[in-house]
Point group: C2
Chain length 245, copies 2
DNA sequence: CGCCGGTTTGAAGAATTTCAAAGGGAGTGG
DNA sequence: CCACTCCCTTTGAAATTCTTCAAACCGGCG
């Protein structure tokens, strides 16, 4: 492989390295994955509910999110995905997709054939374990969101989500200090947390008023991290950031 | 192995067979897993938040459930587990457990050393794939619960949960007709769906009044399945019951 | 400049929670 | 075997959070 294609998969290598130590042959095998790269605009579907994808999506840049539409037409957002994430990794073993994956902003996405990933897992079982681990962390995040939606107040939910985004961006090396890219609309936040836009707006207003956060353009800055964590009942353990073992 | 121990793992074999076709050597390998069986009373912890288990729990009989306690002391129930389920399978690759697993009623539980499971996965990669698939279905159920808690009304949530229990019991061959074992208290249901007991009680009263369900002792009977499904906005796709492929 | 999607605000309404207390039912110990 | 106890269920009433509706505002983009 040449330098260009090897650099292209750097976000994936970094992500896997954050899940567990990688050997050089493993790194090489990951970098050798055949990929197709596409630049996508905001609001485009990557996988639709009911699809049976034959490739997995790897986020290189930008952000994507998963959601379901319930009976009365309301939308529930399930997760957000940044550089290095493979949002539909579960499609490797769950042939029929039960939700939709879309870009939240203009994004660069790599498509990796399932065939290649299955082969990678067979030849490098440890990498398979790391990918498995990644899907388990995905599930852990769902569990935490369930706690938020079931048992936390609206202000706590919003603060919690912001904390999660900050920690994940920082962990991926995509945030300087306490400022993160912030492409979510308040509509998105409402659909993530089971709240109406109006209410999200009011909670946001209070968070700004209390100088916990500030938003300017598409950047969000945490002004008082300890306070925001407390307000959001946030404990990062569920993100399982410490590598395996 | 003798007949006794092979029979003991029948729930696991059946579960795996429902996830994908098993070869005879694979069945034999599963049956050969070394296990410790314990009979447990209701309300005992199997794994606690923060634990680093060295074995996985397999439900043989009874029911267990997972939950988290949030900052203000409220409890969020995350899932229920019946015969054949391995509720803490994620501990194979997520060393630190982020929630608690307890018995909901008196149960028979088998403990399988992680070491044995890791060895099984190495020697029988296809079984590894099925177990992975099982953890992915776990995640899919979380996603559906998120939809319920975020975007469904209380009556819909309750009906949805009942539908799920019915389908899962029937799929596991543990329910005759439309009657299932029903050990959940209304407190449990509230903590599962993000509702107060009082409100659960009122919703339940309506479901009985409208003759969608009836409860007697520790059995629940669905009187009008089509109606209950509709009331619960229930589509079983998310359970991914059709075997892989 | 005008449009479009997102944000913000006010006011009224609905769903659900909280508080309080009484009523069952199953197991336990006397 | 009965009474007691504990937990769960049930009901009423008041309180609260959050939603809905409606409309104005704002900012970026074509």
């Amino acid at each position: 492989m040449n330098d260009v294609s090897s650099e292209r998969l750097a976000p994936l290598v970094r992500k896997l390295a954050s899940l567990g130590r990688l050997s050089q042959p493993e790194i090489d095998a990951v970098k050798a994955l055949p990929i197709t790269i596409r630049d996508m605009k905001a609001g485009q579907d990557l996988v639709r509910q009911g699809d049976r994808p034959s490739q997995a999506c790897l986020m290189l840049d930008g952000m994507s999110y998963r959601f379901k539409i319930v009976g009365d037409g309301a939308r529930q957002i399930l997760s957000y995905h940044i550089s290095g994430d493979i949002p539909d990794l579960q499609s490797l073993y769950l042939v029929s997709t039960d939700h939709t994956l879309s870009t939240l902003m203009s994004s660069r996405v790599a498509f990796i054939p399932h065939r290649s990933l299955h082969h990678l897992i067979e030849t490098h079982p440890r990498l398979g374990g790391l990918l498995w681990r990644d899907t388990l962390i995905d599930g852990s995040i769902f569990r935490e969101w369930m706690c938020s939606m079931g048992r936390r107040s609206a202000p706590t939910r919003v603060a919690h989500l912001l904390c999660e985004l900050v920690v994940r961006y920082r962990n991926a090396g995509l945030a300087a200090e306490m400022t993160i890219p912030f492409g979510l609309t308040q509509i998105n936040i409402g659909d993530s947390l089971g709240l109406s836009v109006v209410h999200v707006n009011r909670v946001f207003r209070d968070l700004k008023r209390d100088r916990l956060i500030s938003v300017s353009g598409r950047k969000l800055t945490v002004l008082q991290w300890a306070e925001l964590k407390r307000a959001g009942d946030f404990d990062p353990d569920y993100l399982h950031l410490a590598p395996e073992g």
